[in-house]
Symmetry: C2
Subunit: 489 residues, 2 copies
C-alpha cells in the first residue's frame, strides 16, 4: 500500500528548512516502524502539492534519502522505503523531546490494578483448551449469520443500521426477545421493560452503578463470577459474600440491611448448581419483606440440555423486585457483545440514561442482524446444534473424569458447558494450572471466583464449549497425570 501524501506535515513557523523537515519525517517514520521496507512513497508531484512547496524541495529531500540509503529509487516506478535498512535498530520511545508529562500524579491506576489477569488471550494455541465462554467454529453457523448481516445491510434498513439511535433499541429485536425468548423462561415483559446492553458484563455494570454507585450493601454468591466482584469493587457499595451450598445461594444466610442481592439461581456460576423452587420462593419472599432488589444473571439458560430449564426467578416475581439479565454471548458468540436487562420500567429508564451517557447504544447493524438470525430460525437451529454437541462432550468428559478418578462436585444436572471440580487435598489448582499450561492444557483455577482467593485453591473449572470432542479424553488424562505427580512430589 503506498504511503499517503497526508502522512506528511510541515511546520512553517519552524526555523528548520522545509526540505530537512521532510527528510526527518521520513527517517522518523522508518525508524519508528510506521513506514515499512518496500513501501512506496508518494510521487514528488503529489507530495509537493499536498505540502504546498516547490517540487524541487521534495526531489532534493528524496535524493538525500537515497544517498543515505533510507529510500531507493526505482526507474519509472518512483521512490520506495529501502529494503536494506537495519530494522533491528531500536531507537526506543519515539516521542517526547520536552520533559515528559507526569501521568503518575494524574492516574491512580485503580482500574488497571483491579483487573483480572488469569485469562489466557491466546488460548487457541493450546491443544486442550478447557476454557469457558469462547466460541467454537464447529458450532456457530457463520454462513447463516453472514446472510443475516447482508439482509441487515440492505438499503431499506439504512436508517436503523447507520443512524445515531440516541437512547433507542431496534424494535424488531426487542419484539423478538419479548415474544420468543423471554416466554421460554416464563417471563412477560413490555418493550419499555427491556434494555439492550453490550453483553451481560455491560448489563451487570449498568445495574450495579444505578443501584449501588452511591453506596449501600449488597450480597453476592461465594464463589461467583469474578467480573461481578470487579464491577462492585469500583462502586461505593459494601459487598457481603454469602457461601453457596449444593442448592445455590441459601436465602436464610443473607445478612440484614441489603439493598441488592446478585444471584445465578438457575445455574450457579461456577458451581453449576440449580436453586430449587422452594428456595426461590423463599428468596423472593425475603426480598419483598426486607425491600432488597434481586439481580438474576441467567447467563446460560439456553444450554440446559438435560431436562427442561426451571422457570427464572423473574417469572415468579410478583412484586417486580427482580432485575433479569440475559446474554447472547453463549448462544450466538461472545464477540457479538449483545445482552439485555428485563426489569421494572423505572429501572430500565435509568439504566438506559446511563447507557446513553457511557456509549449511546449497541451498534444498530448487529441488533438487526441478530433479529434476522432469530426470526429466520437460525438461532434455534444453532442452539439445538450446540446443545447436542455439548451433551455429547459432557457424556465423554463425564466418563473420562470418572475413569481417571478426578473429583467432581455436586451440581450441573441441567447441563451447561462446564464441570466444577475439586483437587485432592494439598493440590493447589493455581499450581496445577501452571503445570498443565506447559503441557498444552488450559484449565481455570478456582481462586479468582472466591472472595477469599485462598479458598479457591481446592477447585477448578473445566469447560467443554471450545474443545473438540476427540481431544477431551487425552486432555483429562493429562490433568489426572499432573495431579498425580503433584501429589507424589
Amino acid at each position: 500500500m503506498p504511503i499517503p501524501p497526508e502522512s506528511f506535515l510541515l511546520d512553517r513557523s519552524s526555523p528548520l528548512p522545509l526540505q530537512l523537515q521532510l527528510r526527518r519525517q521520513i527517517i522518523g517514520g522508518v525508524l519508528e516502524g510506521r513506514f515499512r521496507p518496500g513501501e512506496k512513497l508518494p510521487s514528488t508531484r503529489s507530495l509537493a502539492q499536498q505540502l504546498g512547496v516547490a517540487r524541487v524541495t521534495v526531489t532534493q529531500a528524496f535524493a538525500e534519502l537515497v544517498a543515505t540509503d533510507y529510500v531507493c529509487a526505482k526507474d519509472r516506478a518512483g521512490y520506495f522505503i529501502s529494503d536494506s535498512i537495519d530494522l533491528a535498530l531500536d531507537v526506543g520511545d519515539p516521542a517526547p523531546k520536552a520533559a515528559a508529562f507526569s501521568w503518575g500524579e494524574h492516574l491512580d491506576g485503580r482500574y488497571a490494578r483491579a483487573q483480572r489477569s488469569d485469562r489466557v488471550a491466546d488460548w487457541r494455541r493450546y491443544d486442550f483448551p478447557f476454557v469457558y465462554g469462547q466460541a467454537d467454529p464447529q458450532l456457530v453457523d457463520l454462513a447463516a449469520w453472514r446472510d443475516c448481516a447482508v439482509r441487515a445491510l440492505g438499503r431499506r434498513e439504512f436508517a436503523p443500521m447507520t443512524g445515531d439511535l440516541y437512547g433507542e433499541d431496534d424494535p424488531e429485536l426487542i419484539d423478538y426477545i419479548a415474544r420468543h425468548i423471554l416466554p421460554r423462561r416464563g417471563i412477560r415483559a413490555r418493550p419499555d421493560e427491556i434494555l439492550l446492553t453490550l453483553g451481560a458484563q455491560n448489563a451487570l455494570w449498568l445495574i450495579a452503578e444505578i443501584l449501588l454507585g452511591q453506596g449501600g450493601e449488597c450480597a453476592i454468591e461465594d464463589p461467583c463470577y469474578p467480573g461481578l466482584r470487579e464491577i462492585l469493587s469500583h462502586t461505593r457499595a459494601t459487598v457481603r459474600p454469602v457461601s453457596v451450598d449444593p442448592y445455590g445461594l441459601p436465602p436464610q444466610h443473607l445478612p440484614a440491611g441489603l439493598k441488592a442481592v446478585f444471584t445465578t439461581a438457575s445455574h450457579q456460576c461456577p458451581t453449576n448448581s440449580t436453586m430449587p423452587v422452594q428456595r426461590r420462593r423463599q428468596l423472593l419472599r425475603i426480598a419483598q419483606e426486607r425491600g432488597f432488589a434481586v439481580i438474576e444473571d441467567d447467563y446460560e439458560f439456553e444450554m440446559s440440555f438435560s431436562g427442561s430449564a426451571s422457570p427464572a426467578l423473574k417469572a415468579m416475581d410478583r412484586a417486580g423486585a427482580v432485575i433479569y439479565i440475559g446474554s447472547f454471548s453463549k448462544s450466538v458468540f461472545p464477540g457479538l457483545r449483545l445482552g439485555y436487562v428485563v426489569a421494572d420500567a423505572r429501572v430500565v429508564q435509568e439504566a438506559r440514561a446511563l447507557r446513553g451517557l457511557v456509549l449511546r447504544h449497541p451498534p444498530g447493524v448487529l441488533q438487526r442482524t441478530l433479529a434476522n438470525f432469530m426470526s429466520l430460525g437460525h438461532y434455534d437451529a444453532q442452539l439445538n446444534r450446540m446443545r447436542g454437541a455439548y451433551a455429547d462432550r459432557r457424556t465423554i468428559m463425564s466418563a473420562a473424569i470418572d475413569s481417571h478418578g478426578l473429583c467432581r462436585t455436586e451440581g450441573g444436572q441441567a447441563g451447561g458447558s462446564c464441570f466444577w471440580l475439586a483437587t485432592p487435598y494439598g493440590v493447589d489448582s493455581a499450581r496445577l494450572g501452571q503445570v498443565l499450561r506447559d503441557r498444552q492444557v488450559l484449565i481455570e483455577p478456582g481462586p479468582p471466583f472466591f472472595s477469599d482467593r485462598a479458598k479457591g485453591g481446592g477447585f477448578y473449572r473445566l469447560a467443554y464449549s471450545s474443545i473438540p470432542a476427540d481431544r477431551i479424553v487425552e486432555g483429562i488424562g493429562r490433568i489426572a497425570r499432573a495431579i498425580d505427580e503433584i501429589v507424589r512430589s
Copy 2:
C-alpha cells in the same frame, strides 16, 4: 410465526389445576399482546410433551378457549389465536399481583434526570432536517460496507470476529489507524498508545472517569458539546466553563488549579472556529507549566474540505500531555459506534481496564469490517464523496443564508458540516425551533450547548450533513420567514 411450546410453564406447586393455569397463560398472552391474532398455537402433542402433562389436559384447555373465543380451531391446521378478539381492550399493567416493589427508594434517577431531551429521534420524518451528526444514505457506500462485512465474516476470520477478545483490539484496525489515519493529523503513535472505543462519547466518558472520577477541577469550552457537560456532571469533578472567542479557547483565561482541559481546537463545537497555531503552542506550554492534561476532541477533522486541516494539538505535543479522541461516526456512519483514544501508554492501559469492566470491547466483527473498508480504499472514496457533497451544500447554504439576511457568526472556514448562527435581538432560538418544527424544519437551538442555558437563546446550529442539497434553499427561507414573524409579533 408459530408460538413456541417453551412459551408456557406450569407451576406444579400451585393449587390451581394445570389445565386452568394453561388457559390463563394463553389469555394473559393475548391480552398483553404477546400472542397476536392469527398466530398458531403449538400442537397439543408438542405442548403436552413440553409441559409433561397428559395430552387431554391441553386438548381440554384449548376447547375451553375456543368456547370463549380466544382461540379458534382450523381443520387439520391446528389451533390459532382468534382474529375476533377486541384488542382495543386495554387491561393496563400486566404484572404485579403482590404489593409492588418500591423502586423509588432504590433509584435516585440522577441519570435519567440529567439526560438531554432536545434530540429528535424521528428527524427523518421532517422535510427540512438541519440535524447534526446523522448519516446520509446518498453518501454512505453501503454496498462496499456490505462487501467488507462479508469478508470479515469469512471462516478465516472466525476467531477475531466471534471471540471474547478480553481487553484487546483488532490489530489490523489499530495498525491502519496508526499508519494511515493518524499521520494525516501529524500524529505518531504505537499500538499500545491507541484504544478503540464505542464512539467518541465512550472515549470522552472513559477519559473523564479515569482522570476526574475521584474529583478535581477541569475546564471546558463554553459553549461546548452537551454530551461532555453531561458526562462531567456525573463525575466528582468541579467544572469551570471558559468562554470561547472567534479563535476558540483562550488559554490565558484558564483558571489555576486545573487537572484537565477539554478542547475541540481544530473545529470548535459548536462555533466551528479553528484555534491558531500560536494559541495552540500557548495552550501546550501552559499545560506543561501547570501540569494539566489536555483532552483534544478532534471530532470532525475528516470534513475539512476548505484548505488542509491544521495539525492536531497532539501532533505538537512534545510532553505527552495531550489525550486525543477521534471518531468514525462522521466519516463512516454514527450507528457504527467506533472511535478511538490516542494517549500515553499509561493512560491507554487504565482506560482499557475501565473499558473491559464496563463493556469488554467493541464488537470484533465491526472492527474487522472497518479495517477492510479502509484497506480496500472505500473509506477514502467515501470521505472524498462526503467532502464534495458537503462543499456543494455549504456553498448553496451560505448563499441562501446571506440572501435571506440570516446572521452568521465567525468561524467555520475549514468546512465541517454545519453553520453556527445568531438570532436577531429578542428572538429566542428555543422558541424559533418550536415554531419551525410545525413547519417541517428541524434546527438545533443553542441552550443545550451553554453552561448558562440562557446565553444560548441567541444562537442556533444548522447542519447540512443529512439534508439534500435541493431542500436547503426552501428550508433557509422557512427559517427566515419564521424569524421575521417572531420579530414582528
